[in-house]
Amino acid sequence: MQPEHLNLLYLVAAVLFILGLKNLGHPRTAVRGNILGAVGMALAVVGTLWFQGFVHMELVAGGIIGGSVIGIVLAIRIKMTAMPQLVGLFNGFGGVASVLVAGAVLIAAVTTAVMSAGSGLAMSLQESVATAASGLIGAVTFLGSLIAFGKLQGIVTEKPLRYHGEQVVKVVVLGAALVLSAMIVLDPSRTELYWILVALSAVLGILLVMPIGGADMPIVIALLNSYSGIAAAATGFVLSNNVLIVAGSLVGASGIILTQNMCKAMNRSLANVLFGGVGAIVENKEQGDIYAGKVKSTSAEEVAMILKTASRVAFVPGYGMAVARAQTGVRLLTEAMEADDIHVEFGIHPVAGRMPGHMNVLLAEENISYDKLREMDAINPDFPNTDVVIVLGANDVVNPIARESAGSPISGMPILDVDKARTVVVIKRSLSPGFAGIANPLFAADNTLMLFGDGKKVMEELVAAYKDA
């Protein structure tokens, strides 16, 4: 096969990636979109192998078979609740692959230059700049993703880890990484500099993600997704390879869009998520005043009776539902109520959970039809006509303070207006504040009933009580 033919094949693959991404954006065509992407990838891989005359087949087979087996096992065995960390982990693997490829190309180029006794630079300016960029972005993506994985898996604390001089430390490390990059560009033959750059960027990745708390994870995961694309594009510049550049920049750009959507849903800038931060201060003096004597506790039986007389019920799930694995109870209660001709729907906040679309995935696994899952803007006008809203494991995204007062960490964040419903039932372990560390006046509202307990257990009791009522 000629290089031109391979490039033509890469063009076909690139078109398939574009069509794949486009189709992934619509519910009807999403499955096809994913398959188109996979076909594009398979074409590119087979074409590349063919072009190279199937050299090093034992290593190629080893890498591909080993990677495929692990990838498939992870993808099939993972629980839907653990999806955020898996996506994070895959991002990281993409990042480290870019680091390794750029490193391999650098060493091969330098070795060849030495052997041919050339005195000039081993690489062109484009290649050396791209090599440094691959090392930097790839390593930040890799370690950043591993930390995000650790936080989501509970290995690393979900709390934002902040310290004095944090921003200075980050800027110094970034500055050092940039200086090293410049040194690599000036003299690529010093390959040890590349590995120092990778190590430093890995530290930077840790420093960037450690201070970010659990509730901001949707934004971090979307951003790291974008980085893994940019790292692949940088590696494309190292190899002057069209398909890497196209696929990498497609993912980089689409990841940025998703990141922006998430930021908008929290009414925060990306800079604020990365460098500022909600959740740093967890002290609230007025909490006692807000709740004093106004919180009404209820029982599963009472809620079941209220539900029996309702005609319109909405669930508002949050990360707490995922943690408690309460979604099966939600489905059972939904089915029981629908059998009684009660209209049931779900209000989904864009940043509920730990990754974009987290709640949708969990409820879909329970076979809950996706046309019942309604976006914030769509469901908000309907809350005044809703008899009962069941808030399950959500807190900050239903906090009326976001709407009413300035000066709170969540002021201006768009919320689900559940307080406008006739009755609000909040299922929660305790009155402890949510991620933002602020009290929620919803819990003390006249139309709110608190149903304390573990989400899964409470849902089971509720299903039983509803069937008895």
Binding site: L100, S249, M355
Partner: protein, 96 residues
């Protein structure tokens, strides 16, 4: 040595692809946020091609080891990404 014309060519491809990326993903319903992310994540495993090229170009033992490791990680990314996306999408159903 720096081949300016070739560089401008791939720079053009890069810039245009970024614009395509922005245009393709403008309005995605929230139910597809996760699948879109994991699907695009699989596509970013395109580095698998880079690993194959680095492996095929030959070189010393260290180069080969690095390229093979890259191939392994990128393949997990690609295969795992597409499979998990498919699994997720198969759960999205509309019932009447």
């Amino acid at each position: 040595m720096l081949d300016t014309a070739a560089f401008i060519n791939i720079l053009t491809i890069f810039v245009l692809a970024i614009f395509v990326g922005f245009e393709v993903i403008t309005k995605v319903p929230p139910i597809l946020h996760t699948p879109l992310m994991s699907g695009s994540n699989a596509i970013s495993g395109i580095t698998v091609i880079g690993a194959l090229l680095a492996l095929g170009a030959g070189g010393g033992t260290f180069t080969t080891v690095l390229a093979t490791a890259a191939l392994f990680f990128a393949t997990i990314n690609v295969v795992g990404g597409f499979v998990v996306t498919h699994r997720m999408l198969s759960k999205f159903k509309k019932r009447d």
